[in-house]
Symmetry: C2
Subunit: 209 residues, 2 copies
């Protein structure tokens, strides 16, 4: 069975928990608190030198890091990823977009504005860039979704899971989604998918198992 | 034949040109100048709403964006990517690491400090964060490479190509690689690969064909 090192309030970790829930894959959850330095211990760094969660243990001493690489590993041969070569590249395209253009802005704003006490003051110098970059990414997504129901392959895939994680938290960290109706409609479509679990709900379900 | 929209001095574009050269895949090169706004024209945005190069046209009106998704598309079924499922996930892990932890720091520093006139003054507020994040990423890479010749699968893959692109430019934008001997040895190993072309050499070869 997989072991997933995960933090409750991390969008990157939620991606993996959501995919595993929808794929009905059992796993052991190890809750990690970044804010207490639990990803900076020698033991954790031995498993993942990057010092990040999520981290998936697939066998003793065998780990996969980076949320979207984990998504690809657990879902790459399931209905959450298309078989077609071009469509697979499109799925990856939006997953790389997410890690490059969305997570470093909305993800950073979410972390510092909602999880870290005093984070807004600490990151005042960076906030304007995050807002600008985040809005630019949302604009790209809005134009893409204006003519499509999902990001790639014409259906719900791990590209949607990857982009959903921080987009559905954007309103909690100063981003206003009112000017992005296509994104808001897509957020509802993702939340309506069979087996969808919310960031908190999934943890309750896991704990109850 | 593929058409590649690419900018000469972009590390992200160099990745794709390097992989295509090593795979001996012919393509038409369209040189794009970001600094002249050529990725912000309606025509370009119709091909890639993100407004980024590289962009690969694989068929009329069918494009793949994001450098690492392009790498996966062109090389995913070649010796530059392993067949094993876990090793493929490890390749992707380092490609996501590159886009999340390396490109936004070293790539941004390279762009603003070497390509944009007056860029250092314009980005003074961000420079310290880029240096800190870039050094953190280099530290992770150094620890990983201290015990390995290549990033994933025990051999040269597109993970190395992805990470090489900006790492080999780091010394041009304030980063000192002296404290990173394992990275410097790996840079030499990558440059020694059969069919390796430098960022400039490859363009000369293409133009001469």
């Amino acid at each position: 069975m997989y072991t997933l090192y995960s933090m409750r309030r991390s969008g990157n970790c939620y991606k993996v928990r959501l995919a595993l829930a929808q794929l009905d894959i059992a796993y052991e959850l190890v809750e990690i608190d970044i804010l207490k330095g639990e990803t900076r211990t020698p033991e954790f760094l031995a498993m993942n030198p990057s010092g990040h969660v999520p981290l998936l243990e697939i066998a003793p001493d065998r780990h996969i890091a980076e949320s979207n690489a984990i998504l690809w590993y657990v879902a790459g041969h399931t209905p959450l990823v298309p078989d077609d070569r071009v469509e697979r590249a499109e799925v990856l395209q939006w997953m790389f977009f997410e890690q490059h253009s969305l997570e470093p802005s909305i993800g950073a704003a979410y972390f510092w504005l909602t999880l870290v006490k005093g984070g807004r003051d600490l990151q005042q110098h960076a906030l304007e860039d995050w807002m600008q970059e985040g809005h630019r990414a949302l604009g790209v997504m809005e134009r893409h979704l204006a003519r499509r129901d999902f990001f790639a392959a014409g259906r719900y895939t791990i590209a949607d899971i990857a982009v959903y994680a921080y987009t559905h938290l954007a309103h909690q960290c100063d981003f206003d989604l009112a000017p992005f109706p296509a994104i808001r409609a897509w957020l509802r479509r993702v939340a309506d998918q069979p087996g969808h679990v919310t960031m908190d709900q999934e943890l309750v379900l896991t704990a109850a198992q």
